[in-house]
């Protein structure tokens, strides 16, 4: 470790007055950010605070609407990641960019093949250089001919770093690198980050694990709602202070009123296998909207999909009836459970089929007799629901892929509404849609709950959890780490339970 080089303390990179909006929604607003040579700069904020967007602008993946990026005292405007990388900015992502079916050496030199005689790839040279690159990240004894798919996640992460270091970067961004790592693996990565810092590189570190941020960073920047709240030396912060600055805002008034008192009648109860081991038992009362919260990837999606008969099927019971094991989506639909998937474009619609086909697809049994569709009835019902939801379309024959994101989401809702479900599981129902549509969807969810449908909503948006839900189960590490309702339902509490007070695994 020892003495820092003399360049320490001067900014490697500076971002000034960065603005970025998607489809009119500002995601990053007037953000100033800098990273010094020889520092680890922690960047924290809730989901959707704009951290990742800011880093993508830095890496040339997005172009800012306003503001400028200064690298080593010179203004730069990258058109893509390749340009940023050549200029000295590298990003190590949580979802790795390695090709599993190729060897370690091939991955490290992907796209920058060393050529030898006759223009052929010079394998001995590549293997030698790959070994050198791996030594720098403490993997000197790794066989460079092994397939990446045979290596554990932690090693892959280090290979990713080795690959980045080949470009001799001045700044390295680590975007949630520890999500898939165990405690000791993460510690190894932090050691490497410190070493890089001591070589005078600027390190930007994004993580949801606040203990890690506090333990590794020299300075910390907090972002919220696309703005930079505060930057300061890590020594000035503790976990509570970070949480306070990351949240602490008024709930916007876009949510429908919650019922003051819910009847005690349980309309849905469920016992599912918890992804983190054990069981998750819960129930939903009549009129209740149950929220599922927590950081990304804490097992919420597999847990909720099990209610719909994907993964290991859950046992469910409706209106106090007998317990049924849901083994397939077909079983789930038969008892009246519907699921609105997360990834709107790839998963939740039939993009090349018509709106009519899309909306009717989950209700075909009801809309047909002896196998034949009652097309007049289908058209009438589909048209009615499309009008109710105000889907903006040219006609019912229009293909869904030509609709805007918000309208696609409405067709997804329409499909499941038409199937008149008794239980609705919604995975991030409002991600990536405009505020107006969001408000409509919140109102719809409330109306459905009031009409006797058991509603379970997964959302990464804290404001939504608090504004929309009557009760929230927070998940961490594949288990429920907290249940909050009424006055306990605050951002601080959600944040604390999300950090898994019960188990600090992986913290530095």
């Amino acid at each position: 470790m020892g003495a820092k080089p003399e360049t320490a303390g001067t900014p490697v990179l500076k971002m000034q007055g960065i603005d970025k909006a998607f489809a009119g929604n500002p995601v990053v607003r007037r953000v100033d950010f800098s990273c010094l040579a020889g520092e680890i700069h922690g960047l924290v904020g809730e989901n959707g605070a704009g951290k990742s967007t800011l880093m993508k602008i830095l890496a040339g993946i997005y172009q800012p609407d306003a503001g400028n990026v200064i690298l080593n005292g010179r203004e730069v405007a990258f058109r893509n990641y390749g340009e940023a990388r050549e200029a000295g900015i590298c990003v190590v992502y949580q979802e790795l960019s390695l090709l599993p079916q190729m060897s370690v050496a091939e991955n490290i030199f992907m796209g920058r093949w060393r050529r030898g005689r006759a223009g052929l790839v010079n394998w001995p040279e590549i293997r030698k250089e790959a070994r050198l690159a791996l030594e720098k990240v403490g993997l000197g004894d790794l066989d460079v001919n092994r397939l990446v798919s045979s290596l554990p996640m932690a090693v892959r992460q280090l290979i990713e770093v080795a690959k980045a270091l080949l470009y001799e970067p001045r700044a390295v961004v680590f975007d949630e690198p520890t999500t898939t790592l165990t405690g000791s693996e993460a510690a190894r990565l932090f050691g490497l980050m410190r070493e890089l810092r001591n070589q005078g590189k600027g390190i930007i570190f994004i993580s949801h694990r606040l203990k890690e941020i506090l333990g590794v960073s020299d300075r910390i920047t907090i972002m919220k709602d696309g703005e930079r709240v505060l930057t300061g030396p890590a020594a000035d912060f503790d976990e509570n202070k970070l949480i306070y600055h990351m949240i602490g805002r008024d709930l916007t008034q876009i949510f429908p009123k919650k019922p003051v008192q819910l009847p005690d009648r349980i309309i849905f109860s469920c016992s599912a296998v918890a992804p983190g081991g054990g069981k998750i038992e819960f129930s939903v009362r009549e009129g209740e909207v149950l929220g599922i919260g927590g950081l990304n990837g804490q097992g919420q999606v597999p847990f909720l999909e099990s209610i719909f008969g994907l993964e290991t099927g859950a046992e469910v019971s409706l209106h106090g009836g007998s317990r049924i094991r849901v083994k397939s989506p077909r079983d789930a639909m038969r008892v009246g459970i519907s699921l609105i998937p997360e990834d709107r474009n790839a998963q939740s619609s039939f993009p090349i089929l018509s709106i009519r086909n899309n909306i009717a697809s989950a209700s075909l049994a009801r809309l047909s007799a002896a196998g034949f569709l009652k097309t007049w009835r289908e058209k009438r019902d589909v048209r009615k629901i499309a009008e109710e939801l105000q889907i903006r379309m040219a006609s019912l024959s229009q293909e869904v892929r030509y609709l805007s994101g918000g309208n696609v989401q409405k067709t997804v809702f329409a499909r499941w509404l038409l199937a008149s479900p008794k239980v609705m599981v919604l995975l991030s129902p409002t991600s990536g849609i405009d505020v107006g549509t969001k408000q409509q969807i919140y109102r719809l969810i409330r109306e459905l709950a009031a009409g006797g449908v058991a509603i379970i909503v997964l959302t990464g948006d804290m404001v939504e959890l608090i504004g929309l839900c009557d009760r929230v189960l927070v998940m961490y590490g594949g288990r429920v780490s907290g249940e909050l309702s009424g006055s306990e339902l605050t951002e601080e509490n959600i944040m604390r339970t999300s950090m898994g007070r019960t188990g600090g695994e992986g913290a530095a």
Binding site: F308, L310, S328, P329, R330, M333, R334, L339, P341, Q347, S348, S349, F350, P351, I352, L353, S354, N357, A360, S361, A362, L364, A365, S368, G371, F372, L373, T375, K379, R392, M393, A394, S395, L396, S397, Q398, Y402, L403, S404, N407, R415
Partner: protein, 322 residues
């Protein structure tokens, strides 16, 4: 109704080409527009339409059936090998047996594809070879006998309407009803449109696949029986050209090889384009090797025009995005 209009507008490019080719043919040959020539045309296009339907139902799910040709061959030699007795009972046999043989072969494909995660391309490539062997086992070379009653099917008339036309219309109507008016039809499109979501919508993909490959066998069987009646004989290699031709017909007719897009009106148009191009090249007396080249070039041109989104790309259609 505007909606119906929009549904059919998808096939506009295909029929524009049919019309253009038809007019061109008429301009080249004075006899082209005669009733007799057109009746003859119906007779010749029918097997292509049947094979195109066989291929299209499978392609709609995102699969492919490379055994269509061999199944047609087996059905055709079966038809020509039925016990020859000139009674109505023979006609019944002729009408029932080859299509059922086709159905059975298709069901075997369907079972293999539905029960295991085998890619349809490989399964039907393999079964195509097996069925070809079966066809050659039944009849070593073109031959056999087809009852006179059966041959009426390809050349006879009822109230002046050619029987092939009636048959073709019946098959086409059944296929159209199935694809656009039944639950099963919707399941086919859903499976091709997004398999994951189809499963989440309660569709059992294995079942749908089993049925579409069976259906493909049934249509192939009908095509084979028809061919035997047309040629007064069975031909163990007669089906082979229909593998590629059926795929060409499906795709010219607007089907997407990715699944989820296409339909019966497209198949009819596609078959007509395909056959008329052949016909014109013959009429013009063009050398066979030039014919092959011209056919390929014309097919690609037809594809370019009938491919979805082309109108949009050319800016001929109003943008509907909002």
């Amino acid at each position: 109704m505007t909606e119906r209009g929009r549904d059919l507008r998808m096939y506009l490019p295909v029929y524009a080409i049919v019309l253009a080719v038809y007019i061109f043919a008429g301009w080249q040959s004075a006899s082209f527009f005669t009733w007799n020539n057109n009746v003859n045309l119906f007779g010749r296009v029918t097997p292509l339409i049947l094979a195109g339907l066989a291929q299209t139902v499978v392609i709609l799910t995102g699969g492919i059936d490379l055994s269509v040709g061999s199944m047609i061959s087996v059905a055709s030699v079966t038809a020509a090998s039925l016990p020859y007795v000139d009674t109505p009972a023979n006609l019944v046999l002729w009408v029932l047996v080859p299509p059922l043989v086709g159905l059975a072969m298709g069901a075997i494909n369907g079972l293999l594809i539905a029960a295991w995660p085998f890619p349809p391309f490989i399964v039907t490539l393999a079964s195509s070879s097996i069925y070809l062997g079966v066809a050659l086992y039944i009849l070593r070379e073109p031959g056999g006998e087809v009852s006179l009653d059966a041959t009426l099917v390809s050349s006879g008339k009822i109230y002046g309407i050619p029987i092939p036309l009636l048959l073709m219309l019946a098959a086409v109507a059944a296929a159209y009803l199935l694809l656009s008016r039944t639950r099963f039809g919707r399941s086919i499109y859903a499976l091709g449109g997004n398999e994951t979501l189809a499963i989440q919508s309660g569709i059992r993909p294995g079942r749908v696949k089993f049925f579409v490959y069976s259906l493909s066998g049934l249509f192939s069987g009908l095509a084979g029986a028809y061919l035997s009646a047309w040629m007064f004989a069975g031909d163990p290699l007669g089906g082979e050209p229909y593998v590629m031709n059926s795929i060409a017909v499906a795709v010219i007719g607007g089907s997407s090889l990715m699944g989820g897009r296409g339909g019966v009106p497209g198949v009819i148009g596609g078959a007509y384009i395909f056959y008329l191009i052949n016909n014109i090249l013959n009429l013009l007396g063009i050398n066979p090797f030039y014919q092959y080249i011209a056919k390929g070039v014309i097919l690609i041109a037809a594809l370019a025009v009938s491919a979805p989104d082309l109108l949009r790309r050319l800016g001929l259609e109003r943008r509907r995005e909002q």
